[in-house]
């Protein structure tokens, strides 16, 4: 009898413990994103949310190399890991069509959240499907674009400036065109500065995920590359492989061949950062998301580094990065997740987000007269976001991306065939993909 009472008491304690754990788990949200500097900023920012609402935040951050694999798998298998997901802009089509994301229109209406408060380019790219429609599947969370960083201190050296002017007939300054970028890269390639050999430029050449596609499009877009002759018609022949596109691809290959450090054949964000911070290169391409860290870096930060927007050639264009924050439809805590979205959309939260290193897309932040001076790269960020172009956002974007990764890496890094052949093969791959998807 006594033993029975002891057992009952132990069971009651265990049940109480389990119940309190379950209750605690109910007031907890998991936010999934990539593991990078802005994610760290978001964990700091989210403490305010927890203080205001009592809802604890858990985070699931995955390195960029595995980010798409990990979370697309999670969504496709209707996993319940993520309540909130800051997914890539290219996922919006597939996630909307396949029901992975909650449509937010009713919620926005109920809570008085207006998409007019956000930069139109970011609403278009991060939130809407079909593109440009009024169907919203994400709140713009992290504005981003591909920009450039350069060694301002090297550019300021009188002997280098004199030599550059003598050779090219203009001042050594951030380039205004893609061809000027190539000139500067060639100028620094192999040059000995402070006793060490330096190289021109660190660009994206990564094969595994999306790196080289992002890099190549930063050259293709300014040269006039288009995905379709007529938007929405998938008439790619003559657009993707146009003479302008061929020139753009040839330019990127020439830049890779002439002006990158040895061993830079599979480089993405971190490799470019390493090459720049270790003093190997005069310029690097990278996402604006990294620029706060570079500006504060003890070795290359402060007055040593400057920033410039992706140079034009025929047109002004920058590669769109960035993400929106979505509520995962398989989550059991959609109500709590929507509370987070409501909180995140507040102008004061967005201002703090920018101050912590996140790239707000809210007009209250970006239209502030003091914004361009708030950081050394802020004005360039505004300029970039005014002319961004994104990759396909179709539901089968992953297939389209992998095809481009293969074709451009084969040409740019492995030197296989010509630029025209690479783009012709890419058109064939994409046509096959769209036929499979029933779009052609």
């Amino acid at each position: 009898m006594r033993r029975g009472k002891k057992l009952l008491a132990a069971a009651a304690v265990l049940l109480g413990f389990a119940a309190s754990n379950a209750q605690a788990a109910d007031k907890e949200l998991t936010l999934c994103w990539a593991a990078w500097d802005p994610a760290n900023a978001l964990t700091v920012l989210s403490k305010d949310f927890t203080r205001e609402t009592g809802i604890k935040m858990k985070f699931e951050f995955v390195p960029w190399t595995n980010f798409a694999d990990r979370f697309l798998n999670e969504l496709n298998s209707k996993g319940k890991l993520c309540d909130l997901l800051i997914g890539d802009s290219q996922w919006i089509g597939g996630s909307a069509v396949n029901g992975h994301y909650v449509k937010l229109n009713d919620f926005f209406k109920k809570e008085g959240i207006s998409m007019d408060d956000f930069l139109p380019a970011t609403v278009y790219a991060y939130s809407t499907w079909p593109k440009g429609s009024k169907n919203y599947y994400a709140l713009p969370a992290m504005g981003d674009a591909l920009g450039w960083v350069y060694r301002k201190d090297w550019f300021a050296r009188p002997e280098l400036r004199k030599e550059f002017k003598a050779r090219y007939g203009r001042e050594l300054a951030p380039p205004k065109t893609q061809m000027e970028l190539m000139d500067i890269a060639r100028f620094f390639q192999g040059r000995v500065i402070d006793g060490k050999k330096r190289y021109g430029v660190a660009i994206y050449t990564e094969r595994g995920s999306e790196g080289i596609t992002m890099g190549v499009t930063s050259a293709l877009y300014p040269f006039g590359f288009k995905y379709e002759k007529t938007p929405g018609k998938y008439d790619m022949d003559g657009a993707v492989n146009s003479p302008d596109s061929v020139k753009g691809l040839e330019f990127y290959k020439a830049l890779y061949d002439c002006c990158t450090p040895p061993g830079h054949s599979d480089a993405y964000m971190v490799a470019n950062l390493d090459a720049y911070k270790s003093g190997q290169v005069a310029m690097q391409m990278n996402w604006f998301a990294f620029f706060p860290g570079i500006a504060k870096d003890p070795d290359v930060g402060g007055a040593k580094s400057g920033f410039f927007v992706n140079p034009r050639q025929k047109v002004e264009a920058s590669v769109l990065g960035g993400q929106g924050i979505s509520v995962v439809s398989y989550s059991d805590k959609k109500d709590l997740a929507l509370q987070y979205i409501k909180w995140f959309a507040k102008p004061e939260v967005q201002k703090k987000w920018w101050s912590l290193g996140g790239y707000s897309c809210h007009k209250a932040v970006l239209n502030d007269p003091a914004f361009p001076q708030s950081q050394p790269f802020a004005a360039d960020f505004l300029k970039a976001m005014g002319n961004v172009k994104d990759f396909w956002q179709e539901p089968n974007y992953a297939e389209l991306l992998q095809a481009m990764q293969k074709r451009v890496h084969d040409y740019v890094v492995a030197g296989k065939g010509t630029a025209k052949e690479a783009l012709d093969k890419l058109v064939k791959d994409w046509r096959e993909a769209f036929e499979d998807a029933g779009k052609l």
């Binding site: 496709n76 094969r207 040895p262 293969k406 890496h409 492995a414 499979d436």
Partner: protein, 316 residues
């Protein structure tokens, strides 16, 4: 344990068995009991091996995409197989894989067997050196691929430094060069798995009875004759077994190469397993990837069967 102990143990077990269970077991034959014991394993095998294989074969005839659950899945017959077998790129990847498998086998056999011959002579410190040589094999392939990217760095990597100590080639871009990258992955795999061949060869060498060599001594056979007529034929089945295991492993090699080169530069080190992973889990062309997996399975199974027949002939 005596017969008496076994009987008392059996009696204890019988007393401990609940009556409903005991009643059921009493009626079973030995054969039925045997099936009862192995059925969990069979169910597991069916669930993990057989069912996925049959399901993959079915999917290979459809247009299924795992990332499009709302899509109409249609039977498309042999279209996936036609696309794969008609693709220039796929034949390219098969060529890359064949190059990798062939050269890793040749180098690992030569080095592994050679090292085994050396280590088989008992010298001072042979156990220590055997252990040191085995270390690469104990590492994770993904870790090996990752740290070799640093060793292969043209500016700071030790590989380029060591090679240039012999001859000034300048900074060697092993991973970024179209000509060198296929050899870069061969070198890493050889470094990692030669110890495996060494172990199997050593087992073969140590199984050769001494009296054979003594008899050869009496017949005044020289070192080469002893090797060719005694050592090599006796070790050959072990070497062939090693080739079979390593060949199968390298045909499906993924992690080390994915970490080292991601299949680049371009597609110069893109092994078929990397292509398969990309098709299945990056492009989400599940039906297409299933067809490719079936083709690879049939290839390995077919080649493996032919090889095992040859191995059995050698053993006889």
């Amino acid at each position: 344990m005596t017969a008496r102990d076994r009987t008392s143990l059996a009696q204890k077990a019988a007393r401990a068995t609940p009556e409903p269970v005991a009643r059921r077991i009493r009626g079973l034959s030995d054969r039925a009991l045997a099936w009862l014991f192995i059925s969990p394993t069979i169910i597991l095998l069916l669930a993990i091996n057989i069912f996925p294989l049959i399901w993959t074969i079915y999917l290979s005839f459809t247009n299924y995409h795992a990332n499009r659950p709302n899509m109409n899945v249609r039977w498309i017959g042999l279209r996936n197989y036609q696309r794969i077998l008609g693709s220039e790129d796929i034949w390219g990847y098969l060529q890359v894989t064949a190059h990798f498998v062939f050269w890793t086998m040749v180098l690992q056999l030569l080095l592994g067997f050679g090292l085994a011959l050396l280590i088989n002579r008992n010298f001072r410190g042979s156990s220590f050196w055997t252990t040191v040589i085995l270390i690469p094999m104990m590492l994770s392939p993904a870790v090996v691929g990752t740290f070799w990217t640093y060793l292969y760095q043209p500016q700071t990597g030790i590989f380029s430094y060591i090679v240039n100590a012999f001859y000034d080639f300048g900074p060697l871009d092993m991973i970024g060069s179209v000509k060198l990258a296929p050899w870069a992955i061969v070198i890493v795999d050889t470094w990692m798995w030669t110890p495996y061949i060494l172990l199997l060869s050593l087992a073969g060498l140590r199984s050769i009875p001494d009296y054979l060599y003594e008899a050869a001594e009496i017949d005044r056979a020289n070192a080469w004759q002893k090797f060719w007529h005694i050592t090599f034929p006796r070790v050959l089945p072990f070497l062939m077994l090693a080739v079979l295991f390593r060949g199968i492993e390298n045909f499906k090699m993924f992690d080390m190469v994915a970490e080292l080169t991601s299949g680049g530069p371009g597609s110069t080190t893109e092994l078929v397993s990397i292509t398969l992973k990309r098709a299945a889990f990056e492009s989400w062309k599940t039906g297409y990837a299933s067809a490719f997996a079936v083709i690879l399975f049939v290839t390995v199974f077919g080649l493996g069967n032919i090889y095992v027949k040859a191995l059995n002939r050698v053993k006889r």
